[in-house]
């Protein structure tokens, strides 16, 4: 069998609800353990061991929540949009479930990024909010998430809701590069990225390591929530199928 066929086979098997349900169930405990360990390392490293900043003092430590949430707000949106595209093109139900299960957690990350940024902005910049390109486009991302959630809730037919929401997610994808490059293309109050250049980051290594731990922990946390959410969404959607009936009667 050629390499390409193997990939396709895996793709199709993962698309099978029963297989994914079991696979997600096996993966979940490991995910939870890894999240807890990494989150502890990141938090203790960031809040206790990392040195204070030369200008901001202890206040800079909000970075350990702010930056990972901001990264995740964009990452989750990309997951949502790519799964939306897969659902539109190949009609794979599982993709729609992944997209649907991601929306609320993505919106929460976006809200967290905006809120922590605002709390940091008041003492450092001297204002809670300013309408610069970075802040405005991130706020737009929150509205996109809320619109996506609202649109889904407004349509009763699950397939129609999935299609409409996927199109909305794809339309909003254009906002992601705008958020990322806003600090490069325009002048803003928000500072440019500290870690875009990995060979020479603008953040000291003792501060960087806990930050990367937190970023990974946030990613795994998202995975945990995604697995839990999509498993329950799967059961709900597939409640009339044989495998769910067997699952319920056997337990």
């Amino acid at each position: 069998m050629s390499e390409q066929n193997k990939t396709w086979l895996w793709f199709h098997r993962m698309g099978s609800p029963a297989y994914f349900y079991n696979f997600a169930g096996l993966l979940l405990p490991w995910c939870v353990i890894a999240t807890v360990i990494l989150m502890l390392i990141g938090l203790i490293g960031g809040l206790v061991y990392a040195p204070a900043d030369y200008q901001q003092g202890e206040g800079f430590r909000i970075i350990y929540v702010h930056v990972p949430s901001a990264w995740m707000s964009m990452f989750v949106y990309m997951v949502m949009a790519i799964n939306g595209a897969i659902f539109l093109i190949w009609h794979i139900k599982l993709s729609d479930i992944i997209a649907r299960s991601s929306a609320v957690i993505g919106a929460s990350f976006t809200f967290l990024a905006l809120a922590t940024g605002s709390i940091w902005g008041k003492p450092m910049w001297g204002t809670w909010w300013v309408w610069d390109a970075r802040l405005t486009s991130e706020l737009l991302l929150l509205f996109l998430y809320l619109g996506y959630i609202g649109l889904r809730a407004a349509i009763d037919d699950r397939r129609v809701a999935g299609k409409a929401a996927s199109i909305l997610a794809l339309v909003g994808v254009i906002n992601i590069p705008i958020i990322h490059y806003s600090v490069v293309w325009w002048n803003t109050l928000h500072q440019p990225a500290s870690i875009s250049k990995f060979d020479n980051p603008s953040i000291h290594i003792d501060m960087l390591i806990p930050l990367l731990c937190m970023a990974l922990a946030f990613k795994l946390f998202y995975l945990c929530i995604l697995l839990i959410n999509s498993r329950s969404e799967l059961l709900e959607q597939e409640k009339r199928t044989q495998w769910v009936k067997e699952l319920v009667t056997s337990s």
Binding site: P51, A52, D53, Y54, Q55, Q56, F60, I63, A85, L88, I89, W90, P123, M124, W125, G126, T127, V130, W131, D132, A133, I167, L170, V171, V173, I174, I178, W185, W186, N187, T188, L189, Q191, P192, A193, S194, S202, I203, H204, D206, M207
Partner: protein, 151 residues
């Protein structure tokens, strides 16, 4: 992939590419309005709206900060390493305000060409380091926050 799926793939790609092009054109047209502030060079060249509030952003010139007699009013110069503008501000400055630091001020130009600010915000840069490292860098003469090329 069957023909139906291929057709949908093309449609989805066209949607994203079309929207991308459209939005880029709009953003390019609105470029000036999306910028948060004008630079001192633009102010000196007269590219700023007259008799209207706007924002100016740049570095506080070294050794330019002076307090006027009534304690609260400060005068300082703002530069973008090419041109300089004189600013006047009465109020409490943010913690991160210092010479060599980037700031954004909102206000109006008066007749003498002095920018009367009613709000001053500190623009923090992307450098994060412990105080010892900052001191070592400063001692070696390559201080990040005094070197404009690092910004």
């Amino acid at each position: 992939m069957n023909p139906k799926q291929k057709q949908r793939l093309v449609l989805v790609s066209l949607l994203v590419i079309g929207l991308g092009t459209g939005v880029s054109l709009v953003l390019m047209a609105l470029n000036e309005n999306i910028n948060l502030f004008f630079t001192p060079s633009q102010v000196v060249a007269g590219e700023v709206p007259t008799n209207q509030r706007f924002r100016i952003g740049g570095m506080v010139t070294l050794n330019s900060v002076e307090k006027l007699d009534n304690e609260l009013t400060v005068r300082f110069k703002l530069n973008d390493s090419a041109k300089e503008v004189q600013l006047e501000y009465a109020g409490i400055l943010p913690d991160l305000f210092r010479e060599g630091q980037g700031i954004v001020a909102e206000g109006k130009l008066n007749e003498e060409g002095i920018f009367i600010a009613d709000q001053v915000l500190a623009k923090h840069d992307e450098n994060y380091m412990p105080p010892e490292v900052a001191q070592a860098l400063e001692a070696s003469g390559s201080a990040y926050y005094n070197n404009e090329e690092n910004r």
